[in-house]
């Protein structure tokens, strides 16, 4: 008991404050559940939002542990920038491209879960033993004297200045690399509108644009091919309408269409329906 009092007098912490404990016990389950939900969520966007929840909890933990700079950087950089980048790419790739549930390696799922439980046990039980021994935390009151950000800046620009410079180089390399990866080289010159026009007339055939579906059609419905003003259907228009239809259908049902999408064969939905009148 006297040792504990001595430790506290030296600024060491064996027990955190009640407020911190309450915050921890409220937010720790939220963080773990959000992480579990991120792994288990079928929809990748739900996973991203759960990960944002988890990052917010971690930011609060940083704030609790005398790291206000890291806490706010966590919110600004992780939940603000990185997760927005994730969502952006998710939307570009397509939300409906959900996971395939086929196991390519037999028993991989069970093996992964067993491995995870074993790994968690190996990590958690030694730490639990350490807690029972009663470790003391030195606390950051002395180190944070004069402000956390000032202290971090002092360290960053003195002891860690070389690492700081290397990291800045890394950031530039990453930015240039992302630009190179995202860049598409144009092999031939840009096709002007005049060239497109000449090519269209040189090919012959239909030069006017295909009328949209249901133009001049008496019944309503976008699946119907365009009719001619005098009656009858435009053969080219009908084909165009059907192709358009199939495309719309193929993009529309995202739940089970992911596999078909990946192989690039949209199903010919609605073929033949358009001309039966």
């Amino acid at each position: 008991m006297s040792a504990q009092i001595l430790a506290q007098a030296a600024g060491e912490i064996t027990r955190t404050s009640t407020g911190e404990a309450a915050t921890f016990w409220v937010l720790a389950p939220v963080a773990v559940l959000a992480a579990l939900g991120m792994v288990l969520a079928r929809n990748a966007v739900h996973g991203a939002l759960l990960l944002v929840t988890n990052f917010f909890c971690l930011a609060v933990f940083y704030l609790l542990q005398d790291a206000p700079f890291l806490g706010f950087v966590q919110i600004v950089v992780y939940t603000g920038a990185i997760m927005v980048l994730f969502l952006f790419v998710l939307m570009l790739v397509g939300v409906d491209s959900s996971d395939s549930l086929v196991e390519t390696l037999r028993g991989q799922r069970v093996a992964a879960i067993v491995l995870g439980v074993g790994f968690a046990g190996l990590l958690v039980f030694p730490i639990g033993g350490v807690i029972n021994n009663g470790t003391t935390a030195a606390g950051l009151t002395a180190a944070n004297d004069g402000g956390n950000i000032q202290a971090i800046a002092r360290l960053l620009f003195t002891d860690y200045v070389l690492a700081f410079e290397i990291v800045s180089a890394l950031l530039i390399i990453a930015a240039v690399g992302a630009m190179i990866l995202g860049h598409r080289e144009r092999v031939d010159g840009k096709v002007t509108q005049r060239e497109m026009l000449r090519r269209r007339f040189a090919e012959g055939g239909r030069v006017t644009p295909i009328p949209g579906p249901a133009v001049y059609a008496r019944p309503e419905g976008t699946r119907l091919p365009a009719g001619l003003p005098g009656g009858g259907t435009d053969p080219g228009a009908g084909q165009g309408a059907r192709e358009g239809c199939g495309d719309i259908e193929g993009n529309g049902d995202g739940d089970n269409g992911a596999g078909a999408h990946a192989r690039g064969n949209p199903r010919p939905v609605g073929a033949g329906k358009g001309t039966d009148r």
């Binding site: 950087v73 992780y78 920038a81 994730f86 998710l90 960053l156």
Partner: protein
């Protein structure tokens, strides 16, 4: 509450992230699980910084964040490039280097 409880939480989050990397096939979700693992490591760094009474752990966590941001940018660019050519973000479709 002992400050080491944060370490247990970080261990759990790291394990969940590792299991997610092993289980999921969507490359973007795998990436998010890697981010979770990095954040769990950051939590241990911040906790150890507090236990040791020095700010070096926080500096390490700061560097981890910067490197993670760079890594995410490059990784997502690679995923987008692969998606452009293969129309798929599944890691199973990119197995030509397997044999």
């Amino acid at each position: 509450m002992n400050p080491s409880n944060y370490l247990i939480l970080a261990a759990l989050l790291f394990t969940i992230g590792a299991v997610g990397v092993l289980l999921r096939r969507n490359a973007i979700v795998v990436f998010m699980c890697v981010e979770l693992m990095l954040n769990a490591a950051n939590l241990t760094l911040v906790t150890f910084s507090r236990i040791n009474g020095t700010l070096d752990g926080q500096i390490m966590a700061f560097f981890v964040m910067v490197v993670a941001a760079a890594e995410v940018v490059i990784g997502l660019a690679i995923i987008l490039t692969i998606f452009r050519t293969r129309r798929s973000a599944s890691v199973d479709d990119v197995n030509l280097l397997k044999y």
